[in-house]
Amino acid sequence: AKMRGLPKLLSRAKRVRVGFSASEPVLAIQAGILQPDKFTQTFVQLRGLQSSNVISQAPLAAVADTDSGKQLRQELESIVGPGNVSSGESVVLQHGQDEGPHQGKSPDIVVFPSSTEEVSEICKICTKHNIPIIPYGTGTGLEGGISAVDGGVCVNVSKNMNKILQIHQEDFSAVVQPGISREMLNQEVRADGLWFPVDPGADASVCGMCATGASGTNAVRYGTMKENCLNLEVVLADGRIIHTAGIGSRPKKSSAGYNLTSLFLGSEGTLGIITSATVCLHAIPESVAAAVVGFPTVQNAVDTVVMTLQCSVPMARMELLDEVQMKACNEYSGLSYPETPHLFLEFHGSESEVESQTETVRDIAADNEGGEFQWAVQQEDRTKLWTARHRAYYADIALRPGCRSLTTDVCVPVSALPDLVTATKADIAEHGLIGPMVGHVGDGNFHTMLLFDPADPEEFRKCKEVANKMARSAIALGGTCTGEHGVGQGKMVLLEEQFGKDGIDVMRKIKGALDPQQLMNPGKIFSRNCNI
């Protein structure tokens, strides 16, 4: 057995987090320390590894200073060019850490392909050497989706693949590569009177948004990524390239075959690498108005939302900010809103439509004990009015300088929202935490920013406890543990509870069919080396 890479392997094994220790025996076997018994032999076979000579090879062969690491590097360089492969410390560090609270793990090597064909070749090599593949867009995720839990090759598809391939004005669609962010796309189509309405806050890669099934403040009217994606070009783990709706297809609807687009949307890089996305564009509204109104309780605010939806008012944005959030916004942006739950609203349409929509909602709010109804039409005034909502996250972090936020993401039927919010707020108070709340209340989706001191693991544990409790309540109320951020690493257990054993089993079988060696972004959605 080759012992060369052993010290590094052992140190890696020690760094493996609690909950992933199932893989330690596998590592030890593969380093030739343990003799495989019959059970582990089968287990190893299930991982797609074949014979004993493979078992003796260090699985983390991407480790730079080993012979196999150097060979891997050479093979990658021959595909993308030497300037597009890096194992530099700051580069791998950046590519393992997203914007969430979880400590990310660095990949061994980062590659920067310039075409779908290069991505395909990279996957073939990683499959040959049994090395994990982690796709990387803009690193703006919140669930540790890019953390290389097993090391491996990080495939940064946004740096060099950054073109808008097609814009079809009359068909309201565009085809983009992973390097195009949503703000870049909007900048490009603005002149044609079009826009891309999915707005998750961050300036994320459009293809990355497909991978996480992203959503945002406009979902109540314009839908999430799922409603705005027509086709995906995906590279599978073995290098095959597929088009989920058909090669070059972009019809508004199709009944042809299985809905692969839906399958890959939200798959968080665990089934393949998205190398281009065909997305829907919408017409820029003729007129936009913004409004802000406060309420004595969350129930009042939610009742207003429900009645508005029942009146079929085509609201573009309906955001709920609780009193803790309003306080944070007041302090951060120098505003003077009353510290009560507030609704932030936006209306789109022709001038007359916007006027009548605003009147309708103003009346409903008043009927539900709404306070002063502030509204604006002019661009700068609308921006000012929405400042509180736009800066909410930073306002929260400013409540306790130096802290980080565990952001929860449950989504429930709208009618269940007031109860869940009340229960959650009580739970937050009981645990002695600070947790301002912002909600896409039109979708029943809300986020609490649970603040914790990064140097205090006990506080983080409390935040996790509150978050898990909230997710379980949401599932019990007919909702989901994650409305838009994705499962990543943090919600795997919750996923099982939401879908049950058989539901998860079906997902695992699909994973096994597309990624038998379990190389695609290990440790996300499912635990590593799960039963496929």
Binding site: R190, A191, G193, I284, P285, E286, E380
Partner: protein, 256 residues
């Protein structure tokens, strides 16, 4: 008494594009590069639109000087709500020597011909940063100028303008007619919407040449060379503070 506004719009390389210098070092690469309306001109058009919506203005004429593609810029302004356009055609090979002095003469002539009350421009174009056209146009017309405007209000006697200057904000009053130039914080321009883009296709655009306005195109300025800023050098890693101090001394940054 409703006013007539002439708004000048320039087609420039889009602000997000990475600029590359031509091999002859006399200009930048423009072929195949994304162009759009000068951002300050968008603000100028928006301000004219707001005056129209406030019923102070009843007609907005947009003018652009440039090659055939300048029509796109005019159409964008029309889609934002301008009423009609004038395209002063400059052949592509004369664009390099077409300078603010020529634009000023064109605008001054058109302002007289169209009998406008306000000439509204962006304070500068983001390609040459000249910041000359509004001032020269005012001088040629012998009209008052309100440049770097961040707020414009109508008074009985004319206009009250707040200008952004180095020391802060300066308020001036002018009579009409006047030449104004828009600064960044004057407003946030609207986006052209599809219905307005469709309407814009039907609005009238007249073509003419500088010669039709009696403007001679001979250049007054010669561009000698265009160069990249110096390439940023790689940094040097130092091992400790003593090393840093020694290196600073070597480079003459420390007298100690």
């Amino acid at each position: 008494m409703a006013l007539k506004v002439l708004v000048g719009c320039k087609r420039v390389i889009d602000y997000a594009v990475k600029i590359r210098i031509k091999p002859d070092k006399l200009g930048v690469v423009t072929e195949g590069v994304k162009h759009s309306m000068n951002p300050f001109d968008e603000i100028a058009v928006e301000e004219a639109m707001r005056m129209k919506e406030a019923k102070l203005v009843n007609e907005i004429i947009v003018v652009s000087c440039g090659p055939a593609q300048a029509m796109e810029t005019i159409r964008t302004a029309l889609a934002m709500g301008a009423d009609r356009g004038i395209h002063v055609e400059i052949p592509l090979d004369q664009m390099d020597t077409f300078q603010p002095i020529h634009v000023s003469k064109v605008l001054a002539k058109l302002a007289e011909q169209e009998k406008v009350d306000i000439v509204m421009l962006g304070k500068l174009a983001i390609d040459d940063d000249s910041n000359q056209t509004a001032q020269m146009t005012a001088s040629l017309l012998n009209w008052p100028q309100g440049v770097f405007a961040s707020k414009i209000d109508k008074t009985d006697a004319g206009l009250e303008i707040i200008r952004e200057v180095d020391g802060g904000l300066e308020t001036i009053r002018t009579t009409l007619p006047a030449v104004l130039s828009a600064d960044l914080r004057l407003n946030e321009p609207r986006y052209a919407t599809l219905p307005n883009i469709m309407k814009a296709k039907k609005k009238k655009v007249v073509k003419m040449k500088p010669a039709d306005l009696g403007v001679d195109m001979a250049p007054r300025i010669q561009v000698v060379s265009v160069e990249d800023p110096p390439v940023r050098e790689a940094g040097q890693t130092v091992s400790d503070v003593d090393d840093l101090v020694a290196k600073l001394k070597d480079k003459g940054f420390s007298s100690a």
